[in-house]
């Protein structure tokens, strides 16, 4: 140990250290040892089961919507069913999949390990957040089956329709209210953990960028989520007691609702994308085997995005009759928030320069992300400009744009993160050839599904339509065929991971040659992660450590 990377290596490591699968943090065994666990890794995996299940449900609902749109005429579902389908697709994908997604699974699992901690700052609170998530999910599911029927307002719950609708609006949005608390509690936990539990020597600028991104996200979760909680409560009060807050028939202001909704929901977009950007900043250096280009610039841009992200909500409302002055200010700020994201993309590509690139599946998923996310970001510029937004808002162009950003961005990286960390989490390796095939079919299916929507949007196809004019048929067809390829790929991916879990080859502790702390400990990690808390002397992406690590 010339320069003392990790004190742990000085100690004799017992050959068969028990992993967190085999050893529980409580006195129970079996299912109870999971349901009552305070181990951040087990909680991460429990989130994983919930979140992936809802992701697949959301994807199947999306598949059904595309099936309805295969031909004009509205033949398969009734209008009411379709309206509920797109609402559920949005609610499930946003509140149950993409907002918790990366932070709840990978943040829980890897944030403590990457800063050299044994757990999060408040392990019991962490378990509580999981239960709050599950209660929220159960309420959302219950609302589907009660009299009144599934919610049909769109995931934005715009007033006055959401006050007039006879469907189970109150229960469904109450579920979103509950889910918000899960998000807030996780945020508090991550902020405290990052501040208090960093290993000796790990200054803020030695933290891996995934930690930076998750940390910035946690602040948004804490500060922005209460706004949606208040808004939802006001809608419920309005529905239940007829108090006029938003509904003009009772003396309220519906535009006020839109403001309050987007004051949360726009920052929420960054809750969704920032952790994904953090994962990208982990994967690229590992497979290029060199340090990240512009570490501080990337770290600061996460904070910049988190901050400016609060100030752009009005760009969702350019056509709502808000003043022209508001419109140009929001438009200008929107263009400014695009810059730190653009800078990150340049940094990532520059990190490949003069590297030693081994394009393994996690890296290939990131390449696919860079293309899809760039398309999503660049089409965001079209929507940020006032003249074009007036034409394109509330059309398929917007639908295409946010699917490229959220699914092509965050969704792709959600999958990439599994490919990167699966061997660490489960100690097994998946079939690399299958994973490479999946990247290709995913990329093709994705673009077939969503690219035609840009064209349809420009031609004037409004969103949330269960039927359409015959002129759109060829584009709608391609889109539906794409959905078949994409959803099959998703199931294929789930399939080869399940296969790997049961039949896969044993993974080594560092299959990719990563240098952040999780690659210094066994796969799967032991309950307490580190026998001895490491002392950090290296920068996070200093690959000169690799040689020493071989001797570990």
């Amino acid at each position: 140990m010339a320069n003392g990377t990790i004190a742990m290596t000085d100690l004799p490591v017992p050959k068969a250290e028990k992993s967190f699968f085999e050893q529980s943090t409580n006195k129970h065994s079996g299912i109870l040892s999971w349901l009552l666990t305070t181990d951040h890794k087990r909680i991460g995996l429990m989130y994983m089961f919930g979140i992936i299940s809802f992701f697949l449900v959301g994807a199947i609902i999306g598949l059904l919507m595309r099936l309805e749109l295969l031909s004009p005429g509205g033949k398969i579902f009734s209008a009411q069913t379709y309206n509920s389908l797109f609402t559920l697709h949005g609610v499930i994908m946003i509140f149950l999949f993409i907002i918790p997604g990366i932070p709840a699974i990978f943040g829980n699992f890897f944030l403590p390990i990457q800063i050299g901690a044994r757990d999060v700052a408040f392990p019991r609170l962490n378990l509580l957040s999981w239960y709050v998530y599950i209660v929220g999910a159960i309420l959302a599911l219950t609302s589907l089956f009660l009299p009144g029927g599934p919610i049909d307002t769109g995931w934005t719950f715009y007033i006055p329709y959401s006050v007039r609708s006879g469907s189970n609006v109150s229960l469904a949005i109450f579920a979103a209210f509950i889910l918000g608390f899960s998000s807030i509690l996780t945020g508090i936990n991550f902020v405290t953990t990052t501040h208090r539990l960093r290993a000796p020597g790990m200054s803020f600028f030695k933290m891996p960028l995934f930690v930076w991104a998750t940390y910035a996200t946690a602040w948004i979760q804490i500060i922005a989520t209460p706004v949606i909680a208040i808004t939802i409560l006001l809608v419920i009060i309005e529905r239940a007691f007829g108090v006029g807050i938003f509904d003009p028939a009772l003396g309220g202001d519906p535009v006020l609702y839109q403001h309050m909704f987007w004051i949360y929901s726009h920052p929420a977009v960054y809750i969704m994308i920032l952790p994904a950007m953090g994962v990208v900043s982990e994967i690229i250096p590992t497979f290029a085997r060199r340090t990240i280009f512009g570490y501080k610039q990337i770290a600061y841009s996460s904070l910049a995005i988190a901050f400016i992200g609060y100030l752009v909500w009005g760009h969702h409302m350019f056509s709502s009759g808000q003043s022209d002055t508001s419109n140009w200010i929001f438009s200008l700020l929107t263009f400014l928030v695009a810059l730190p994201s653009g800078v990150k993309i340049f940094n990532w590509v520059a990190t490949m320069y003069k590297g030693s690139i081994d394009p393994q599946p996690p890296f290939l998923w990131v390449m696919s992300f860079i293309v899809l996310f760039s398309i999503g970001g660049l089409t965001g510029l079209v929507l940020g400009a006032l003249a074009t937004d007036i034409h394109l808002t509330d059309t398929y162009f917007v639908v295409a744009h946010f699917h490229y950003v959220m699914f092509g961005g965050t969704g792709t990286i959600f999958i990439a993160a599994f490919h990167y960390w699966f061997p660490k989490m489960f100690g097994k390796m998946y079939n690399l050839k299958f994973a490479k095939i999946a990247v290709v079919t995913y990329f093709i299916g994705f673009n077939m599904l969503y690219f035609p929507k840009f064209i349809m949007g420009y031609l004037g196809m409004p969103r949330r339509y269960y039927d359409y004019l015959p002129m759109y048929t060829p584009y709608q067809r391609i889109s539906t065929y794409g959905s078949w390829i994409l959803v099959s790929t998703l199931f294929f991916i789930v399939g080869y991971f399940i296969h790997a879990y049961f039949r896969g080859k044993k993974a080594t502790s560092n299959p990719w040659g990563g240098v952040t702390l999780e690659w210094h400990i066994p796969s799967p990690p032991p309950v307490e992660n580190f026998k001895v808390i490491p002392v950090i002397t290296h920068d996070p992406y200093d690959f000169s450590q690799l040689k020493e690590m071989k001797d570990e």
């Binding site: 006055p160 800078v343 030693s356 660049l378 510029l381 003249a387």
Partner: protein
């Protein structure tokens, strides 16, 4: 390509083309560079990786140039939008009522229709109200839309310069038959319009009172 039905269409299409052209260049640049690096610096070639922590000049350049680009996009988007929002002089005012799930148009002489008829080369001012929930009157061919928030009056201005039929859609989700809330704007020439209207429709020019 048929001629643009309003002057505003040309200006919106220009903004679109401007942003998309820059975007395509950036996208191709990023993608090609990335793929080139993956081949050029492939591990199989046995390169020794070089740790480059940053390059101040490069980082300044790739902040400054994109900033200038997006500011120009903002500018074009804003100026085109400004023109569209200016209330025209002496427009033909049509009252629009939106309800689940149809639009109704009412003219100065009390004539009511569910299809919008307008004379060509005349400035139109749609004065829009909703009877129930939020709607949005959207004319894709003219690249314009405006929400109709329940409880408020909204205006949409346009001056068609080509005769023809164009779709009107509702673009703000309004419940069950939102997708069926389609109608048309029929742009016809003055004589036809006078005949259809049944009399003089020319908006009275408001005289500016002299001191």
């Amino acid at each position: 390509m048929s001629p643009a039905p309003t002057a505003h269409v040309e200006s919106v299409d220009f903004v679109m083309l401007y942003i998309v052209a820059i975007s395509v260049i950036l996208l191709i640049g990023i993608t090609v560079t990335m793929i080139y690096f993956v081949f050029k610096f492939n591990r199989k070639k046995g390169h020794q990786p070089v740790d480059i922590h940053g390059n101040l000049l490069l980082e300044v350049v790739w902040i400054v140039i994109p900033t200038l680009l997006v500011l120009s996009m903002f500018y074009f988007g804003y100026t085109s939008y400004r023109e569209y929002r200016i209330k025209p002089d002496n427009p033909l005012v049509v009252d629009v009522t939106a309800r689940m799930w149809q639009f109704t148009f009412k003219y100065g002489n009390g004539k009511m229709t569910d299809t919008l008829y307008v004379p060509v080369n005349t400035a139109i001012d749609l004065e829009m109200k909703s009877m129930d929930v939020n709607h949005c009157l959207y004319i894709p061919a003219f690249r314009i839309k405006e929400d109709i928030i329940y409880g408020q009056t909204h205006h949409l201005y346009f001056t068609p310069k080509e005769v023809g039929d164009y779709d009107i859609a509702c673009a703000e989700y309004c419940g069950l038959n939102h997708a069926k809330m389609y109608t048309k704007v029929k742009v016809i020439n003055d004589d036809q319009f006078t005949k259809w209207y049944g009399g003089n429709w020319q908006p009275v020019k408001t005289e500016i009172p002299k001191e």
